[in-house]
Symmetry: C2
Subunit: 402 residues, 2 copies
Amino acid sequence: MGDFNLTVILDAIRRSESGLSRVELAQIVGLSPQTISNISRRLLDQKLIVEAGKEGSGPGKPRTILRLNPQGMYALGVHLDPSLVTVVLLDLVGQIVVKEMFVTPRSQEPDEVVAAIADSIEGLLDRSGIPRELVAGVGVAAPGPIDLDRGAVVGPPLLRGWVDVPLRAMVEEATGLPTTMDKDVTGAAVAETWAGAPGGADSFALFYLGTGLGCGLVLGGEVYRGSSGNVGEIGHIIVDPDGPECFDRCGMRGTIATVLEPVRLVGEAIQAGVLSPLGEEPTAGDFQEAFAHLSRLVGEGDERAVAILGAAARKLAWAAAVVGNLLDVDRLVLGGPFWAPVADFCLAVLPDMVNDLLAARGIHRVEIAGTVLGDDVGAVGAACLVLERALAPRAERLLLGG
Amino acid sequence: MGDFNLTVILDAIRRSESGLSRVELAQIVGLSPQTISNISRRLLDQKLIVEAGKEGSGPGKPRTILRLNPQGMYALGVHLDPSLVTVVLLDLVGQIVVKEMFVTPRSQEPDEVVAAIADSIEGLLDRSGIPRELVAGVGVAAPGPIDLDRGAVVGPPLLRGWVDVPLRAMVEEATGLPTTMDKDVTGAAVAETWAGAPGGADSFALFYLGTGLGCGLVLGGEVYRGSSGNVGEIGHIIVDPDGPECFDRCGMRGTIATVLEPVRLVGEAIQAGVLSPLGEEPTAGDFQEAFAHLSRLVGEGDERAVAILGAAARKLAWAAAVVGNLLDVDRLVLGGPFWAPVADFCLAVLPDMVNDLLAARGIHRVEIAGTVLGDDVGAVGAACLVLERALAPRAERLLLGG
């Protein structure tokens, strides 16, 4: 129980914006002043918290404020995207200390990918000068479907040859650090709850627009992972009955993952004469650049570009409405590498498009927002998972030593 | 805290299959033998539990088993469907004592509907001879969208003129009984959790095939209502890009609520010469009968009938897969008045159809099952809501007197 109380106290301190006094802590967590005092002493000894000045408006002795010590613990986060790997090192308050992004090895061979991740992690630890023993572990955000129990990646459509790869164990072995794994979109949703209002119990879906398309779920304030960790597979929602056949050969037309493929949108723009043709064998970077160019043209008011992105936004709204109507969420949050270029345009048109399609529109309006985090939301979320395991009182397995 | 402990004990007794001794209770709920003894005494005095024989295999005094007293409390449940109203009276263990179904008054006027509900309730109470003071309250399951906080029905597509009807308050006034309200599909999901394995923490979606089409959600063992009680609006999921325009004028084609309308399926069968044309101005009952006839033909192996229902099942599978892929549930449960006639046929074909469409099919198979409850699942669930408020320790408002 000592460890449990310790995490309860750490969690209460984390959730407070400006720290807490021992007296406030005792009131919030319902433990005796003596217990609070003993545990604070242990946390101070472990350098997980610091005394951060005194506070006192009324009579009596001013109270010492306890805060998390950002340098007391660290966590690594890895987002494995089929085209880009992002690695971040977070401190105890969730701030990025260092990060690195690199193109996923072209072979997509699991061994090669894991070796590249391990190299990147060593490089970041070296550069930051942070001692290995302060790193609580590595969190990996991987594309689904995953086998949560076994920490395996099971045949994601965009990673060639990843039939059943025990990624968690491989990263653990390659880095020597305790490793945890979750689906990419769930990692992103975790990051959003860390960055969002503390203690909120709202429900939201986070749409991640990356190489693939998926969504993470936070329902009633808790991350919802589903029965096997595979929530958020929304790619086959039909959003355009007149659309092209699904690239994933499901036999239907106009599925969202197909009609919103950035490659397709760029192709439409080239065909319409809005963008110039790409060179031979264009890379993922070329497409991302062309997509960003298309978005800039929209910003400049180019009518044909607006028509293309407007139609795409309409289809995105349809999928968002399917999710919103099923789950009656408070918020729909959007993020990922293909979100940033179109964020301004979409935030102008999506809120009305989506709300007009919701059955509960007469009861409450659903907020549409961009993620407060950047492209690295998946990697940050993966590292937050590690911190959460260490800090959150509900985790069964505590990474903190007694 | 006394009332809270009381409901904890009642809930533990309810969840046990064959009752519990005081010693077992103390172990399960973690209260002192003295507290258990005091509270058991109160519950026995209130006739909410009974002593149900002795049990003792080992040495020492045999233990008296405590069980819920079915006659200790009752609850009424009302399912308001646009075409049919079902009213049930449940005892404390969730068994139906009496029930009544009647066609929704043709005018669909709120006053007239509420008066008919109140009449039915009086009739059931009279017939059963159950004293009014033993009835904990009325639960109403209403078609969405609803305003959960205000207990209002807000413009459901199939109830003409129900713009903003304070149904909960109206039923409370007309019956003089404390009334609670929830969305119809949520009521059905509650009933399923009561009837299913006790203490299970699995996740499932319950598809309700009635006059409308919706789904209730139980995620991680808890009923999930969403931000405003309006979960499960799945009617606009597109399942057939070649389908007809949505009857609800959303601007899309082939939405599930449209392509699976029983009226439409019956029409297809008439056009194909499988069913004979209906008379002039057919009623809802005529359609339901024709639909049942079509299902019988499928049972007899009529190829054209099989083709029509097979195509419909395929579309239902698509919608089920959208829900299953988003939520990664353990089970998909089907129920409602239009389920029963097609249950055998669908249970033969749906499991493979749905699982083939799920992204996590390599990790786990999703079970497809019919509800263990009949057509009255909505009304039973509404009454269970009342019992749950009375029995469940998490309810803030306890209907039980101290």
